[in-house]
Amino acid sequence: MITIQGKGVSTGIGMGPLYFYRRASAEIKLRVIEDVEAEWQRFKDAQATAIEQLGELAEKAREEAGDDAAFLFETHQMMAEDMDYEESIEGIIKEEKLNAEIAVSRTSDQFAEMFATMDDSYMQARAADVKDVSSRIIAILCGAQQGGIASDVPVLLAADDLAPSETIQLDKSKILGFVTSYGSGSSHTAILARTMGIPAIVGMGDSLKMEYEGRQVIVDGSTGAVVIDPDEETRARMIAKREEQLAFQKMLETLKGQENVTKDGKKIRVYCNIGSPEDVHAVLTNDGDGIGLFRSEFLYLNSKTYPTEDEQFEAYKAVLSDMDGREVIIRTCDIGADKQIDYFELPKEENPAMGMRALRISLSRMDFFRTQLRALYRASAYGKLGIMFPMVTSVWEVREAKKLCESVKAELRAEGVPYSEHVEIGIMIETPAAAVMSDRLAREVDFFSCGTNDLTQYTLACDRQNNDLGRFYDPHHPAVLRLIKMVVDNAHKNGIWVGICGELGADLDLTETFLAIGVDELSVSPRAVLPLRNAIRNTDMSEKTEKILDALMDDHTHLV
């Protein structure tokens, strides 16, 4: 038994024979050609076949992964028929009288080299695209098969790393998992594995050896362990672990349609965070009670210019209609800080996290804000809408935003455009100022939602983009949790509800704390809904609440 370690990037346990991905690395022999026209035609035929194959791959990619993935192959198509590329190949065949394989291979090296020496890392990476296209043409010229899986049984697929054109054409039914020498959590292999729901382990380096081919292997995507020729005990342990994972998944499925209620009868709503209308599908399949945060930025980020009122209206309406009466809270545009958009032409700032962002931009550019609010109110006729303002620090900001809402409603009324009179207005609590002023702010709105990522950053004075801060950036810090408690208490005194829509909402270590504090709603990514529901249903708060609250006011280290 040999155990080697990599980095797990897609969870699950896979067992089966290890199989190394075969590339069509046909040996290229140099030949001198007599009939150069025939050789040129042979290249033109192979080029046409490559373009046809790439077209099919583009279609396949479009179905599996969308337009962006498809465009990669369309770019490859254009490279295959690039005039300079073709000219270079033609020169080698017709003037040097060499065979097409050599002509493509030399041209490929030359163009790849050209990209590799550019001063831009993105362009350097395009060298791989030129090589990918060229090896496809060479494979066609040699009559070689492009890397299939020549096995009757499903395998654990090993490779150095897989190119997108390779992953897309694999027979997915034959793959139990991936093991690669290189790559990262964001490489194509990792993304594909997570979509397929199978394990993937990357970054094995030299420890992944060809000699393991064909041997029985177990991979554990949660730990990154790869075990070759496992002994009986290991095998039994991994089978048990796999069964446990499957059973847990199955158990989670049974929670669909169940209430989010503790053993002692405490209820909490579990909503979802989404970033585009397509995510609604995931909300519904994971049985989210509603949408606690719909980030409207996608409309602005995916556009070359300000999205029109109608474009926005259609997107909001789609989500509200699809959610079929369940609550949908849409956050008004939250750009600035780490999200920059060119056409906003925001001036450069020394410290954008504390600069012109979110509601501050909306209130400074009323026309743009009015367009978004009109679209939102028009959409309110199609479901249960909540509107939420980000980055609030003062009461006057909320009043100004609400005033604009009233003016938009009056406009729509005058135009005879339908809208709902029951739209809830809320604010994000993500600055210490908003938390401290929550007693006053609670009189202005219908709900609060704590954005814990920013609240942590601003409370602890820790830049969330700075990975070096390590233990200083502690979202479990009692300062953050005490602020949340203060916000909840002030909200409840004024009869409004409070949610949490930051990453902490899904942190199962804090679920009991939030229940103790009295948070009314947790908004999390769709996949986190059922595990969170499970945690809620398995806890009994009757004896814990007091202890947790005491600990919170006492000392961080005593926090349960």
Binding site: T75, D82, Y122, D342
Partner: protein, 85 residues
């Protein structure tokens, strides 16, 4: 000849995707369409040469459209740059 200069607004510059779109657009016309940066002029149909120009966000290029349909192709290309780059 139709000519205009354009400052790239796309944050990624003329990378693979925008270059591909530009090549595709250029194929629609009979005119020769070229993009020039710092004295190097490239036909937009030559995708790899276009990428090799390495045009970044904020840089200015001169675009020339010359040929029988330049009266149509010129404004169309200008609109294309404004919308996509």
């Amino acid at each position: 000849m139709y000519q205009f200069s354009y400052t790239i607004k796309d944050p990624v510059g003329i990378h693979a995707r925008p270059a591909g779109l530009l090549s595709k657009e250029g194929k629609k016309y009979k005119s020769a369409i070229t993009v020039e940066k710092n004295g190097t002029e490239v036909n937009v149909l030559k995708l790899m040469a276009l990428m090799k120009l390495g045009v970044k966000c904020g840089e200015t290029v001169n675009v020339k459209i010359e040929g029988e349909d330049e009266a149509v192709a010129g404004p169309a290309m200008e609109a294309f740059f404004n919308a996509n780059l």
